[in-house]
């Protein structure tokens, strides 16, 4: 019982803003901008996350990469200042800005020393509310992006992840290439970027999350003064389409000659962010493929020394998600590793999980989460997920109890319902000449050239 008490203490500390002490409030400006302020004075720092709803799923089919490109253009100057002027002004504070795009949203992340918070936020507001979106700068960014796409083909891990995504979500906007393809990026016009900004980078589809050494009332005043003039836009309309699951074993071999080690992905459609069975699914997944003592690590790495790493995960998005087993091995043992993975999936369905495994997984998950929440970055990233996906805020406070109280039956049911058995996409990136034969026993092979990923 001592352990449980300690774990609860972690949350009382880490989530001192939660219902027990300070109510977590999501406030909204008149223009629809949502903001959340959470104070923590442990270090003289402030973490900032700005979430722009939309993401790569709203890209037109023939203009994939448009959201990514538009988000990157926020860093390329404003109507008042050139890209260089504003970069110098911002980075003088010691901070840098990162803008990323996933399938659901674009995310601006930065961190300030508390003394630079106000100055930094004013620059951020200028970047977001009045970007220049200058034609020449857009062309320059497109050129750079095209080179980056070529360069990405040097990374077999990236190639495997992108192809897996593209195939598993086929027919759904989640199959879009976040950074687009060379031909599509080349055709995107400056006008398209400007329109995309106008339609999607609007206050009523944006959430601002601040965490650190700040005063709530002063910060609210600041937010109002710098974001109130941002013009409200139309609400983003999204079709709630569901991707189709893979119904039987599908094998795709992506040929990249010269590799001495192949990247392997095995999986299917998974769950979305608000699935009510998220916790039992996570417990089962921890047993299968999370941490250093999971079944996959035990079977592929520890017992047979066939890989350096093996894991499984449910990557959850708003409308859907994917379940994927990730590993890699030398060319000679690709077939053997896939066989082990398929056996483990079968075993999971046939024999379920033991009480000891469940207990270990639960404790590991609780410990892992508490470590994540200890760092300011880990904390705000977790908070951002909760807020954006409109998840129950009580989840934060009750996470450890919810994990502890999950009965075995729910975990066994989750395995049956959500984990694939034979119905999987097996995707391998490697030197086809050296590994193709080993894949033939699993079924018909569809072979692709790695370069088609970005063409």
């Amino acid at each position: 019982m001592k352990k449980l008490v300690l774990i609860i203490l972690i949350f009382t500390y880490s989530f001192s803003f939660s219902q027990e002490k300070v109510e977590l409030q999501i406030n909204t400006l008149e223009n629809g901008l949502k903001y959340v302020i959470v104070q923590n004075k442990k270090l003289p720092l402030v973490q900032v996350r700005i979430v722009f709803n939309g993401g790569a799923r709203v890209d037109p089919q023939n203009s994939q990469g448009l959201t990514y490109l538009t988000a990157q253009m926020l860093l390329k100057g404003t109507t008042q200042k050139t890209a260089q002027q504003i970069a110098e002004e911002f980075e003088f504070l010691g901070s840098t800005i990162d803008i990323s795009t996933n399938y659901d949203y674009s995310l601006l992340s930065t961190e300030f020393l508390k003394y630079n918070f106000e100055t930094g936020m004013k620059i951020l507001a200028e970047l977001i509310t009045s970007p220049a979106l200058d034609g020449k700068e857009i062309d320059k960014e497109k050129e750079k992006l095209i080179s980056e796409l070529k360069s990405s083909l040097e990374n077999s891990t990236y190639i495997a992840n992108q192809f897996f995504n593209k195939i598993i979500f086929e027919g759904h906007p989640y199959s879009n290439a976040i950074q687009g393809t060379i031909k599509q990026i080349d055709k995107i016009s400056s006008r398209q970027v400007r329109n995309h900004y106008k339609n999607y980078f609007v206050p009523n589809e944006t959430i601002l999350i601040l965490y650190g050494d700040i005063e709530k009332s002063e910060t609210e005043k600041l937010i109002k003064s710098i974001f109130s003039n941002w013009q409200k836009g139309n609400q983003i309309k999204l079709e709630n389409a569901q991707p189709n699951k893979i119904k039987s074993t599908k094998i795709v071999l992506v040929d990249k000659p010269g590799l001495t080690q192949a990247q392997i992905r095995v999986g299917n459609i998974g769950i979305n962010q608000t699935n009510p069975d998220e916790i039992p699914i996570s417990i089962a997944n921890t047993i299968l493929g999370s941490g250093f003592t999971s079944r996959l690590v035990e079977e592929i790495r520890v017992k047979r020394s066939l890989t350096y790493g093996a894991s499984s995960s449910f990557q959850k998005l708003q409308q859907s998600g994917k379940f994927v087993i990730t590993t890699f091995t030398k060319n000679e043992t690709v077939g053997e590793v896939i066989e082990i993975i398929l056996n483990e999936l079968q075993k999971l369905h046939q024999s379920g999980v033991s009480d000891w495994e469940i207990n270990k997984a639960k404790n590991y998950m609780i410990g892992d989460l508490s470590r994540q929440l200890q760092s300011p970055d880990g904390y705000i990233n977790f908070l951002t997920q909760i807020i954006y996906y409109n998840k129950d805020i009580n989840l934060i406070k009750n996470f450890s109890t919810l994990i502890k109280n999950t009965p075995k039956e729910k975990i066994q049911n989750a395995i049956k319902e959500y984990f694939p058995k034979n119905d999987v996409l097996i995707l391998v990136v490697g030197d086809a000449q050296k590994i193709k034969q080993q894949l033939e026993k699993f079924g018909n092979i569809q072979q692709l050239n790695y370069e088609t990923l970005v063409e």
Binding site: I10, Y13, G94, L113, G291, K330, Q374
Partner: protein, 435 residues
């Protein structure tokens, strides 16, 4: 803006001078112990550093420090193979290890009430590791996969490996920490036994504890579990002085890449050299952020690169100052080295402007706080400074050391180290370009 910076230093020094209660002492067997208690979160990070890494390995056994790090998780007298991680994970903790050129370190994070268990696990593997062929063979093949992943199929890391192997002729920084594949195949059980007996002794280690623990209780337990481990005679590590490099070296690497790239390494200084801070700030000015010189000139103005970085090695002995840039194509690549040289020449001639210097210093203030974000980060930072500089207190001096760097210092170190005859260049091109 300069005033603001001075103010920040004052704040940060005071903050951590007062709030971080750190103490250290030695056990009778020579093990150094550092405590940094912090009750905010009821968990602890245990970390142990051993003063052994890539640079201590004899040729023919490269990679043994790292291979051995893997073997440390595979059972000891009291705990059977696999128990180490299982016990930790089932109690909500986790463990890991990493090996560098100058040291090897292991860490565990766990709930506060498991302190004794962790001491028992760590002390047991330190004094009675299960060293047999089964353990060695299991990890040998795993490490070979790790090498395939991180070097053989990773063009940029392959360039790094070639850079060090070529730049250093005498110093063992030329050896890859992960080891050459042929050496990995040959390391014997006898090599491992000698390595363990020689380097994994208390007088060659530093134990660091951060987080929620009671100092008196921790001291008693450390005495109980670690003080009885006998000290060993550590062979004298002869400091190798790398001979002066008198001509430029160039390596052409044809590999599975889409775009050509270049990696330049200038012979530079150690983390203990007073020039280190100026060189590290130059790296920042050249390659960090959207306003860096590389971004501004090589990417925005000249449109030559997809990416570029600069970094100053943080090593106990003299390391390299590295510049990496990937060109957007063959045409761009042909201009790249000249343009990089022009940027360095400009700094040698005129130094950097005051705003650039202040920006770089402000970045370092923000970075300084990274060490205080988690128990794990603090335990690493304390051990890192203890091992590399001989005193963990140097961690608290870094902001001050950066703040003292003047524009003249920048110009002086640029002229001292950016000499073409003392550089090594690795060029990476697609296999199809090989004639």
């Amino acid at each position: 803006m300069k005033k603001i910076f001075a103010f920040l230093i004052l704040i940060s020094t005071n903050l951590f001078g007062q709030n971080v209660d750190i103490e250290s002492y030695y056990l009778k067997n020579g093990m150094k112990v550092i405590f940094a208690p912090n009750k905010e979160v009821p968990s602890i990070c245990f970390r142990i550093f051993f003063k052994v890494g890539g640079k201590h390995e004899t040729p023919g056994t490269t990679g043994i420090s790292h291979l051995f790090e893997h073997m440390m998780f595979n059972g000891s007298a009291k705990y059977k193979p696999g128990m180490f991680d299982k016990l930790l994970e089932e109690n909500g903790g986790y463990s890991n290890g990493s090996t560098w050129n100058d040291f090897t370190n292991y860490w565990e994070e766990f709930n506060s009430d498991k302190l004794e268990l962790v001491f028992d696990l760590e002390a047991d593997r330190m004094k009675s590791l299960k060293l047999d062929n089964e353990n060695l063979e299991q990890e040998r093949y795993i490490v070979m996969e790790e090498r395939r992943l991180s070097v053989d199929n990773n063009p940029q890391n392959k360039m790094e490996e070639q850079l060090y192997a070529t730049a250093f002729v005498s110093h063992l920084y030329r050896q890859p920490v992960i080891g050459w594949m042929e050496d990995l195949k040959k390391i014997s059980l006898e090599d491992c036994k000698y390595f363990y007996k020689t380097y994994y002794s208390p007088n060659n280690s530093v134990l660091i504890l951060t987080g929620d623990f009671d100092k008196n209780q921790a001291k008693k337990l450390i005495t109980k579990y670690f003080e009885k481990i006998p000290k060993a005679k550590i062979p004298e590590h002869k400091k190798i002085i790398e001979p002066e490099q008198k001509s430029e070296k160039i390596v052409n690497l044809f590999q599975e890449v889409e775009l050509p790239s270049i990696l330049i390494g200038y012979k530079s200084c150690s983390i203990n050299d007073s020039d280190f801070y100026a060189m590290d700030l130059i790296a920042n000015i050249l390659g960090y952020g959207l306003s860096s010189r590389f971004k501004k000139i090589l990417s925005e103005e000249k449109k030559l690169i997809t990416e570029a970085y600069a970094s100053q090695d943080q090593m106990e002995d003299k390391g390299l100052f590295k510049i990496y840039a990937q060109a957007r194509g063959e045409k761009e690549f042909n201009k790249l080295l000249d343009e990089i040289d022009k940027i360095l020449e400009e700094i040698k001639l005129n130094g950097v402007n005051p705003n650039e210097l202040e920006k770089a210093k402000n970045t370092k203030v923000l970075e300084f706080f990274d060490a205080f974000k988690t128990n794990q980060a603090l335990s690493f930072a304390l051990g890192y400074y203890e091992i590399l500089t001989g005193d963990y207190n140097n961690l608290f001096k870094v902001v001050d050391n950066y703040s003292k760097v003047s524009s003249d210092d920048i110009k002086r170190v640029a002229n001292k180290y950016f000499n073409k005859q003392a550089r090594t260049i690795v060029i990476s091109k697609p296999v199809s370009d090989e004639k």
